[in-house]
C-alpha cells in the first residue's frame, strides 16, 4: 500500500510540475485591460477577481450529429401535465419543433414508428454521484466527499467526475439525459454541483450542460455531525451544524461587501476620482461559491431529511437572504408541505427508501403524493447508480402509494417528478425537461408505459441525436473500462 501510494504521489507531483511548466506566460499578456488611467502600464493578473473569471472550466459540449426525426403514433407525456394519445413529436436541428396529434411529418424526416409505445422528455436525475463515486467501487474511485473540513464550498464536483464511469451509460440506457452531479454529504458545505448532459465524453467539460447554473451542496443532520464529531471536531451536534452554516454565511456576506466596495472604488478611480488604485481583496474560492449563492447565480441543493431541520435551514436562508432551491431526500417533507409550498422550495425524494438511518425513519411512500397534493414542486431522485436506471419506476411506487391513500394523480402529472420538476430545481427548465417547441430535443422512446416495470428505453435522444438505441449496436456506447469485458459487450447483452 505504501509503495503504491508513493507512486501515486510521485505521479501527481510530476503532473503538477508539467502543468506548471506548460502554463503559458502569454495568458497574462493576452488579457486586455478595461480602461483606466494608464493603460500602457497596467498589468493584468488573471484569476484574482472572481467577477472577471466566473467560468474557468467552460463546457466543450457539442451535440452529436442529428437528422430531422418524427416519432409518430406514440402516447406522449409532455412533461407539462398533458397526455397526447397517438401523437407525434418532431425533432429538428437539435430542438423540439412540434408536439401534438395529427401533425404533418416534415419532408425528409426520418419517421420512427412509435405506435403502441410511449414518449417522454429525457429523464433528469437531480441527485447523482455518477463519476464522483464511480464503479467499480474501489478506493481510487471514491472522490465524492472532501471530508477534511465541514466547509468545502471551494471544491467542485466536476473535478472529481470520471467520465468513464460505466454508470453514466447504464443511466443513459434508463433514459437519463441530464444529471446533477453533487459532492457527498459529509460536510455542511460539500462543494459545487455540476449539471451534465448524459453523453459520452473524453473530459467532463465535454459533458457540461451549456448555460446551466452551478449548485451548492449543503447537508443537514447526521452526516456532518457524525463525520466531524468522530474526528473530535465541530460539528458534533445539530446545533453545531447550525453554527457552522451561519458562521460561513457571515464570512460570505463580508466577502461580498469587500468586493463590492473594491469594484465601486475601482470604478471611481477609472472615472478619474482618486489618485491611487484600490487594493483588491484576496480571492477566496470557498467564499466565491457562497457569494454566488447570495448573488442568486448558484442554486442551493440541500441534503436534509427531517422536517424540523428543513425549517431551521429556511430560517437561515431568510437571515442571510438567499433561496434554497431544493431539499434533497426530504424524508419528512410531507410534514411541512405547506411551508415548502409557501417558500417555493422543491423537494427531491425517493419512492420508497426509508429507515436506513434515524433521520430517515419517518420516510413514507406517500411523501411525494402528499407534496404534490400540497402544490410543492416534487422530484423523484436516485442518489444511486442502480436506482437512476429506473427513475420513472421509482416514481410509480410513489404514485401507487398516493393512489392507495386516496390522492389521485395521473401519470401525465407524475412524469414531471422526473422531468420538468428536476429541471426547474437545477435551473434548466428553460432549456429541457418538457416536450415543448424550442426546447432541447432530449427525448425518450419507451417500449411501454414508463411507469411499468417492463418498460425499456428503445431510443434516447439528446439534442436531437440518437445517443442510445436498443436495437442498433452502433448506437450503444461502452465505457473504456468495460471495453473487452464479456458482460457488457456480449452480443446478447444488448437485445
Amino acid at each position: 500500500m505504501r509503495h503504491s501510494l508513493s507512486a501515486v504521489s510521485l505521479a501527481a507531483a510530476v503532473a503538477l510540475l508539467s502543468a506548471c511548466a506548460t502554463v503559458p506566460s502569454q495568458s497574462v499578456a493576452d488579457q486586455t485591460s478595461s480602461g483606466g488611467k494608464d493603460q500602457a502600464k497596467e498589468k493584468s493578473y488573471p484569476g484574482l477577481d472572481p467577477a472577471t473569471d466566473s467560468d474557468p472550466f467552460p463546457t466543450t459540449y457539442r451535440a452529436l450529429p442529428s437528422q430531422t426525426v418524427a416519432l409518430v403514433g406514440a402516447t406522449i407525456f409532455t412533461g407539462t401535465g398533458a397526455r397526447i394519445d397517438n401523437g407525434t413529436v418532431i425533432l429538428d436541428g437539435g430542438k423540439i419543433t412540434a408536439v401534438g396529434a395529427n401533425l404533418p411529418v416534415p419532408a425528409g424526416a426520418k419517421v420512427v414508428d412509435a405506435r403502441g409505445k410511449f414518449v417522454t422528455p429525457g429523464i433528469i436525475d437531480a441527485h447523482s454521484h455518477l463519476g464522483v463515486y464511480a464503479t467499480p467501487e474501489v478506493w481510487a474511485n471514491s472522490d465524492g466527499n472532501e471530508a477534511t473540513d465541514p466547509n468545502t464550498a471551494q471544491v467542485w464536483a466536476e473535478h472529481s467526475v470520471w467520465p468513464q464511469d460505466p454508470g453514466f451509460i447504464r443511466a443513459l440506457e434508463g433514459g437519463i439525459t441530464t444529471l446533477e452531479i453533487l459532492p457527498g454529504s459529509a460536510n455542511l458545505f460539500g462543494g459545487r454541483a455540476v449539471i451534465l448532459k448524459n453523453v459520452p465524453g473524453r473530459t467532463v467539460e465535454d459533458m457540461k450542460f451549456p448555460g446551466a447554473p452551478y449548485g451548492l451542496k449543503m447537508a443537514c443532520g447526521e452526516n456532518p455531525k457524525r463525520v466531524y464529531g468522530s474526528k473530535g471536531r465541530s460539528p458534533s451536534t445539530r446545533m453545531g451544524n447550525i453554527y457552522g452554516y451561519r458562521k460561513s454565511w457571515i464570512d460570505a456576506q463580508e466577502y461580498r461587501r469587500k468586493w463590492d466596495e473594491y469594484h465601486k472604488k475601482m470604478a471611481d478611480y477609472k472615472a478619474g476620482k482618486g489618485d491611487k488604485a484600490p487594493d483588491a481583496p484576496k480571492r477566496d474560492l470557498q467564499l466565491d461559491t457562497l457569494a454566488g449563492v447570495l448573488d442568486g447565480s448558484i442554486l442551493v441543493q440541500n441534503h436534509c431529511y427531517r422536517a424540523d431541520e428543513m425549517a431551521n435551514m429556511i430560517a437561515i436562508s431568510h437571515e442571510f437572504g438567499f433561496h434554497i432551491s431544493m431539499f434533497h431526500h426530504g424524508s419528512e417533507a410531507y410534514k411541512i408541505a405547506d411551508i415548502l409550498k409557501k417558500e417555493d422550495i422543491c423537494v427531491a425524494t425517493w419512492g420508497e427508501w426509508w429507515g436506513f438511518k434515524m433521520e430517515g425513519f419517518d420516510g413514507i411512500e406517500e411523501n411525494a403524493a402528499l407534496l404534490q397534493k400540497a402544490g410543492v414542486c416534487t422530484v423523484i431522485h436516485s442518489d444511486d447508480a442502480i436506482l437512476t436506471q429506473h427513475l420513472p419506476q421509482e416514481a410509480a411506487i410513489a404514485l401507487a402509494a398516493g393512489r392507495r391513500a386516496g390522492i389521485e394523480i395521473d401519470e401525465a402529472e407524475a412524469i414531471k417528478w422526473v422531468t420538468a420538476n428536476p429541471a426547474k430545481s437545477i435551473g434548466v427548465l428553460d432549456k429541457t425537461g418538457t416536450l415543448e417547441p424550442g426546447k432541447m430535443a432530449d427525448v425518450v422512446l419507451w417500449s411501454a408505459d414508463p411507469f411499468s416495470v417492463y418498460a425499456l428505453t428503445e431510443q434516447v435522444y439528446v439534442d436531437g441525436a440518437v445517443v442510445f438505441d436498443r436495437h442498433d449496436p452502433t448506437r450503444q456506447p461502452l465505457s473504456d473500462f468495460e471495453l473487452g469485458q464479456a458482460g457488457p459487450a456480449h452480443p446478447g447483452a444488448r437485445p
Binding site: 464503479t135 467499480p136 467501487e137 474501489v138 460505466p166 454508470g167 447504464r170 447526521e222 410531507y334 410534514k335 408541505a337 405547506d338 419512492g351 420508497e352 427508501w353 426509508w354 429507515g355 436506513f356 438511518k357 434515524m358 425513519f361 419517518d362 413514507i364 411512500e365 406517500e366 402528499l370 397534493k373 447508480a385 442502480i386 436506471q389 429506473h390 419506476q393 410509480a396 411506487i397 404514485l399 401507487a400 402509494a401 393512489r403 392507495r404 391513500a405 411507469f451 411499468s452 416495470v453 417492463y454 418498460a455 425499456l456 473500462f481 468495460e482 469485458q485 464479456a486 458482460g487 457488457p488 456480449h490 446478447g492 447483452a493 437485445p495
Partner: protein
C-alpha cells in the same frame, strides 16, 4: 381506517390473533396463480379453513358460514417471500443498537442463531406486509459492516419467519448456514478469495474430525481445534448435507470453485449473489445448486462482478437453474422484492418463473415448501389478492392473508400519512392518532 381495522391491527400486534380463531374464508372470482399442478385458474375459488388452504378450483361451493372475499377477477398468488433480508431483526440500518442480525462472535459464528433475536413486533414488518410479503428468510450478516469483521468466517444460522406479527412467527430455525465468500468477507480473512475458501475447507475438515471423535472431545484427547464446540456442532448438519450452506459468491471462477468444493464434500449449497453466473450457467445447472440473485445488479461494482448484467436471471433460468429473486438486504426494502422479479422479467425471465422466484422457489429451497409457496390444499394460507400484475409498481395488494388470517392493511407509515395528510391549523398533529 375504520375502528374495526385499528382494533384488528392492535390485536394482531399484541399477538392475540392465532390460528385457533382462524375463520373460514372463501376468495371468489380470482385469477389464481397456483404455482402448483393446477397451473393458473382464470375464475376460481380458494377455500381457507383453520389457517390452511382447504380447496382450490374453478367451481367450488362456498361453505356455509364462510366469509367471502370477492377478488373481482383480480390475481391471487401465494404470499411473497423476501429472502436474504434482515427484516424483523433490526429497526434502523444506521443504528447498530437496534440490530439483532449481526451477532457472530469468536464463540458463536456458525452457531449464531438469528431467530433468537427476531422481534415479531418490529415496525418494519407491517410495512413489508403492505407490499404483499408474508414470509421472510432472515439471514445474519457478519458484524461490523466493514473494518471490524475480524476473523469470523460464518455469519450464522438463517431463520424463516412469517409476517403475522404474532408471537409464534418463527416458521423454521436453522434454515441455512450463511457465509460470505466474496471480496468484502475475504478482506478480513487474509484478503484473498482463495484463502477464504481454504479456510472454509479447513473448518469443515475440523468439524468432520470432531464429528468422528466426539468422545475424544469430551475426554480432552483430541487434536487442538480452532473452532468452538458450538460451531463444531453447528457444522455437523452441513457436513451431512442435511442443512444448506448459503454461500455468497460473485465471480465466474469463484462460482466454479465453490461448486467444486460443494460436490467434493457433498454439501447442499445455495449460491447467493452470482452476478457472473450467466457465464457459467451450464456448470451451475449441472450442479443442481439453486441461486439467489438481485436482478438489478448490472454494474461492475467490484472486480469480482465485472460482468454483471440485467439478463443474468433470465439466462440462468433458461439454462435450468432454480432462481430466487431477493430484495436489498436491509429489512426496510423487503417489499422491493416483487419489483426485482419484474425487472428480471423485463430482461428475459418468463413471467411465471418470476413469480415462482419470490414464492415457490424460496419456500422449497429453504425447506418450508410443504407449508408455503404454492396455492394447494394443505398448505398454509399465505395469500395475496393484487390490484393488478403483482410485479408492477402501480399494483398494490388488496388483501393479504397469513396462515389464514386476513392482515390489517395499515402500518406506522400509513398512520404518518394520515396524520400529516390534512393538517388542523388549531391542533398539533401529535393529537391525531
Amino acid at each position: 381506517m375504520s375502528v374495526k381495522t385499528s382494533l384488528l391491527a392492535l390485536a394482531a400486534a399484541a399477538g392475540l390473533i392465532g390460528a385457533a380463531q382462524a375463520e373460514t374464508i372463501a376468495i371468489t372470482h380470482a385469477k389464481i396463480v397456483t404455482l402448483g399442478s393446477a397451473g393458473q385458474i382464470d375464475n376460481g375459488t380458494i377455500i381457507v379453513k383453520d389457517g390452511r388452504i382447504a380447496a382450490v378450483g374453478a367451481n367450488l361451493a362456498v361453505p356455509a358460514g364462510a366469509r367471502t372475499i370477492d377478488a373481482q377477477g383480480h390475481m391471487v398468488t401465494p404470499g411473497v417471500v423476501a429472502s436474504n433480508t434482515s427484516l424483523g431483526a433490526g429497526e434502523v440500518e444506521g443504528e447498530s443498537s437496534s440490530d439483532d442480525f449481526a451477532g457472530a462472535t469468536d464463540q458463536l459464528s456458525a452457531a449464531f442463531d438469528v431467530s433468537l433475536g427476531v422481534n415479531p413486533a418490529s415496525m418494519l414488518i407491517p410495512i413489508a406486509r403492505m407490499g404483499g410479503v408474508t414470509r421472510a428468510v432472515i439471514t445474519p450478516e457478519l458484524p461490523g459492516r466493514g473494518d471490524k469483521k475480524g476473523e469470523k468466517l460464518f455469519a450464522g444460522q438463517a431463520a424463516i419467519i412469517d409476517l403475522s406479527g404474532g408471537a409464534n412467527s418463527i416458521t423454521k430455525r436453522y434454515a441455512a448456514l450463511t457465509i460470505d465468500a466474496g471480496t468484502d468477507a475475504a478482506a478480513h480473512l487474509g484478503g484473498t478469495h482463495g484463502g477464504l475458501l481454504q479456510r472454509l475447507e479447513a473448518d469443515l475438515e475440523e468439524a468432520a474430525s470432531y464429528g468422528a471423535n466426539k468422545g475424544g472431545y469430551e475426554h480432552g484427547t483430541h487434536r487442538p481445534y480452532s473452532l468452538s464446540k458450538e460451531d463444531l456442532e453447528a457444522l455437523q448438519p452441513i457436513l451431512q448435507g442435511k442443512e444448506p450452506l448459503l454461500i455468497e459468491v460473485h465471480r465466474a471462477a469463484d462460482i466454479r470453485r465453490v461448486i467444486d468444493l460443494g460436490k467434493r464434500l457433498k454439501l447442499k449449497l445455495i449460491l447467493n449473489g452470482v452476478e457472473e453466473g450467466w457465464m457459467v450457467a451450464g456448470d451451475i445447472a449441472a450442479s443442481g445448486y439453486p441461486v439467489l440473485l438481485d436482478p438489478q445488479a448490472d454494474l461492475p461494482s467490484q472486480f469480482e462482478s465485472l460482468n454483471s448484467r440485467m439478463e443474468n436471471a433470465g439466462l440462468l433460468a433458461a439454462a435450468g437453474v432454480t432462481i430466487v429473486v431477493i430484495p436489498p438486504y436491509t429489512g426496510h426494502y423487503a417489499r422491493q422484492v416483487r419489483y426485482n422479479a419484474g425487472y428480471a422479467v423485463a430482461h428475459g425471465l418468463p413471467w411465471e418463473t418470476g413469480i415462482a422466484a419470490i414464492t415457490r422457489n424460496p419456500a422449497q429451497i429453504f425447506g418450508f415448501g410443504e407449508k408455503e409457496g404454492r396455492i394447494e390444499p394443505g398448505l398454509d394460507a399465505d395469500l395475496v389478492v393484487w390490484s393488478g400484475d403483482p410485479l408492477e409498481m402501480l399494483t398494490v395488494p388488496l388483501h393479504v392473508l397469513i396462515k389464514g388470517e386476513e392482515q390489517p392493511m395499515t402500518s406506522r407509515a400509513q398512520d404518518l400519512a394520515r396524520r400529516y395528510g390534512a393538517l388542523d391549523p388549531n391542533q398539533p398533529p401529535a393529537y391525531r392518532h
